[in-house]
C-alpha cells in the first residue's frame, strides 16, 4: 500500500471537513439540508480566482510566488475578499429565497427543493460567466517535499492542512466560548426559548450563512490550489460533505472536521484498492452505514 494515499486522503479530507462545517451549521440552525452549499465552494474558488487575477493585473509584483508556495500575495489578499464576497452571496440567496420561505413557515421539503434550485441556478451562472473549462490559480509546478516515512507533500498542501486545522480550532472556540456561539447553540436547540431569552434569531441565521459560506470559499480555494477549478467542483463534493456532516454528528464542528478526514481517507483508500470510479460509492456507503447504525453520528446526541 502506498503511504502517499494517507497524505492525499488527509488533504481531501480537510477540504471536505471545511465544507461539512457549513452544512452541519446550517442544518442545526435552519433545520434543512442545504444542497446549494456545494455552490458556495465553487463560487468561492471562482471569486478568489477573479479577484486574484484583478490584483495581479494591477501589480505584477503580487504574482511573484511567496517563498516555497505556488502563488503570490495576490492569492491570500484575494481570498480575504472572496470570503467576504461568498458570505455576501449566501446572504443574498437567503434574502431572496430562504428568508421569504421561512417567513411563510414553509415545510422542510420545500426548503430542500429550493436549495436544489439555487444550486442549479448558481452553477449555471458560473458556467455562463467562466465556461466549464477547468482553470488554475497558478501554473507553477511544485516539488513535493519528503516528510519521512515515504510521505511527500507540496508546500501548498501543507499550508492547506495548517489553515484547515487553525480554522476548525477557531470556529470551535467561537461556538463554545463566545456570546454569538452560545446564541447559535441556543437557537439550534430551541428557537422559541432563544427568542424569549433575548436572542435575535435573524442575527444568528445571518452569522451562520456568513460562517458557512466563508469556510466553503476557503475549501474551494484549497481545492482550486491543489486540483483545479471547475463549475462542478462543489456539486461533486456534496455527497462526501453530507457523509461527513452526518458522520460527525449534526451541529458538531470538530465532528464535521474529523469525519471529513475519515471520509477523505476512506475515499483515497477506496480509489487505491478498487479504482477511481468508486470514489463516490465510498462516501455513499459511509453515509448509509452511519444512518443505519449511528444516526446521531460520532459526536451528536441521540434525540
Amino acid at each position: 500500500m502506498n503511504p502517499q494515499l494517507i497524505m492525499d486522503g488527509l488533504i481531501a479530507g480537510a477540504m471536505i471537513g471545511l465544507g461539512a462545517i457549513g452544512i452541519t451549521l446550517t442544518y442545526s440552525i435552519l433545520r434543512f439540508a442545504n444542497f446549494a452549499h456545494g455552490e458556495m465552494i465553487s463560487w468561492g474558488a471562482y471569486l478568489a480566482l477573479a479577484t486574484s487575477g484583478l490584483l495581479g493585473s494591477l501589480s505584477g509584483a503580487l504574482l511573484k510566488p511567496i517563498g516555497p508556495f505556488s502563488f503570490g500575495w495576490s492569492l491570500p489578499l484575494a481570498v480575504l475578499a472572496a470570503v467576504a464576497l461568498t458570505a455576501g452571496l449566501a446572504l443574498l440567496v437567503d434574502a431572496l429565497l430562504f428568508g421569504p420561505l421561512r417567513k411563510r413557515r414553509s415545510a422542510v421539503i420545500i426548503m430542500v427543493m429550493a436549495s436544489f434550485g439555487a444550486s442549479l441556478a448558481l452553477r449555471s451562472l458560473l458556467e455562463f460567466i467562466f465556461t466549464s473549462k477547468p482553470v488554475y490559480f497558478s501554473k507553477a509546478l511544485q516539488i513535493a517535499l519528503p516528510l519521512g516515512g515515504g510521505l511527500r507533500a507540496t508546500p501548498d498542501q501543507l499550508l492547506s492542512l495548517a489553515v484547515a486545522a487553525i480554522l476548525v480550532v477557531a470556529i470551535h472556540i467561537l461556538l463554545t466560548r463566545t456570546a454569538i456561539g452560545r446564541s447559535m447553540r441556543a437557537v439550534s436547540e430551541n428557537q422559541q426559548l432563544a427568542g424569549v431569552a433575548g436572542i435575535d434569531a435573524r442575527k444568528v441565521i445571518r452569522t451562520v450563512w456568513m460562517l458557512g459560506a466563508g469556510l466553503a470559499c476557503i475549501a474551494g480555494v484549497m481545492a482550486g490550489l491543489l486540483v483545479q477549478i471547475r463549475p462542478y467542483m462543489g456539486f461533486d463534493l456534496l455527497l462526501p460533505l453530507f457523509a461527513a456532516a452526518i458522520l460527525g454528528g449534526i451541529g458538531s464542528v470538530p465532528g464535521a472536521m474529523l469525519a471529513g478526514l475519515i471520509v477523505g481517507l476512506a475515499e483515497a483508500l477506496g480509489v487505491q484498492l478498487i479504482g477511481a470510479e468508486w470514489r463516490a460509492a465510498v462516501a455513499f456507503m459511509i453515509l448509509v452505514f452511519v444512518l443505519l447504525l449511528r444516526p446521531q453520528g460520532l459526536f451528536g446526541r441521540a434525540e
Binding site: A179, E189, L193, G198, I199
Partner: protein
C-alpha cells in the same frame, strides 16, 4: 416601586391564536398592578399558555394590545421584550438542556450591558446555591425542581419588572413545589410583579394576591386569592375540585 400601584402589565381585548382564523384567546382584558402576584387558573386547554405566550410574543396576536408599564409592547419583537423588562418562563423546554448551567446564565446575561453581566450571574448563583454548586453541569441532567430554578434564574438575570411563569410546578413533588413557590414569593417580595399560570391551585392561591380564571379563552372570574379559595362554586366549576366532603383539590 414607582407611583401608587400603577398597572405593571395589561392586555386590552387581546385576541390571539396559532392560526389566523382560529382565535384561542378571545378578547381578554387583564391587568396586574406593580408588585402584585396574580395566578391564572383554568381547566386544561382553556388557553392559559396561549394567553401568556401571546404576551411574550410566541403566539401571533390577532387584535387587541399588550401594555407593559404604560408602554405598548404588542408589536415589539419577541427577543426585544426582555429588554423592556418582561421575562417569560415557558411551560415546557424552558432551559437549554444541551448547555451547561453557566452557559444558560451567560446566554441570558448577554442582553445586559457588558459591565453588569458577571455581577448578575454571581447574584443569581447567590440566590440559587444549588446551581452554583455545579456550574459546568449540563442543564439536561438537573432534577425537575432544579430545572425550574434554572429557568427562573435565567429569566431573573435581567432584573425584569414583570415575570411570567407557565406552570412551574408541573411534574414536581409536593415538597419541591413548596420550595419553588416559596422562592417565587421571595422574588415577588423584592418587588417583581409575577403572573403565575397554575394547575396547582391550593399551593398557588396560598402565595397569590389575586387570581384570574380563564375559560375557553375568556376571563371568567377575577378576585382576591383569599376569597377565591373559599368560593365553592368557583372551585367546583373551574378548579376541578369536588364539592366539600369528597376528594380535595390535587
Amino acid at each position: 416601586m414607582t407611583g401608587p400601584q400603577p398597572s405593571a402589565l395589561s392586555t386590552r381585548a387581546l385576541v390571539a391564536g396559532y392560526e389566523p382564523d382560529l382565535p384561542i384567546v378571545r378578547g381578554v382584558d387583564f391587568s396586574i398592578r406593580s408588585g402584585e402576584l396574580v395566578i391564572v387558573l383554568g381547566p386544561n386547554g382553556a388557553g392559559k399558555s396561549t394567553f401568556v405566550k401571546a404576551i411574550a410574543g410566541l403566539v401571533p396576536i390577532h387584535s387587541g394590545a399588550t401594555m407593559l408599564g404604560g408602554f405598548d409592547i404588542t408589536a415589539v419583537p419577541t427577543h426585544e421584550k426582555i429588554r423592556h423588562g418582561l421575562a417569560f418562563v415557558p411551560q415546557t423546554e424552558n432551559i437549554f438542556a444541551t448547555m451547561s448551567i453557566h452557559d444558560n446564565l451567560l446566554l441570558a446575561a448577554n442582553v445586559l450591558p457588558k459591565e453588569k453581566r458577571s455581577r448578575r450571574v454571581a447574584d443569581l448563583y447567590a440566590m440559587f446555591p444549588d446551581l452554583a454548586a455545579r456550574p459546568s453541569l449540563r442543564a439536561g441532567q438537573l432534577s425537575g425542581g432544579q430545572r425550574q430554578m434554572l429557568a427562573v434564574a435565567r429569566a431573573l438575570i435581567v432584573e425584569p419588572s414583570v415575570l411570567i411563569l407557565d406552570e412551574p410546578s408541573a411534574g414536581l413533588s409536593p415538597k419541591i413545589v413548596q420550595e419553588v413557590f416559596a422562592q417565587l414569593k421571595a422574588i415577588n417580595d423584592t418587588g417583581v410583579t409575577i403572573i403565575l399560570v397554575e394547575q396547582n391551585v391550593k399551593a398557588a392561591l396560598a402565595i397569590a394576591d389575586r387570581a384570574a380564571i380563564l375559560v375557553e379563552g375568556q376571563l371568567r372570574h377575577e378576585g382576591p386569592a383569599a376569597t377565591l379559595a373559599e368560593d365553592p362554586i368557583v372551585a367546583e366549576l373551574y378548579l376541578g375540585a369536588r364539592p366539600a366532603g369528597k376528594a380535595a383539590t390535587p
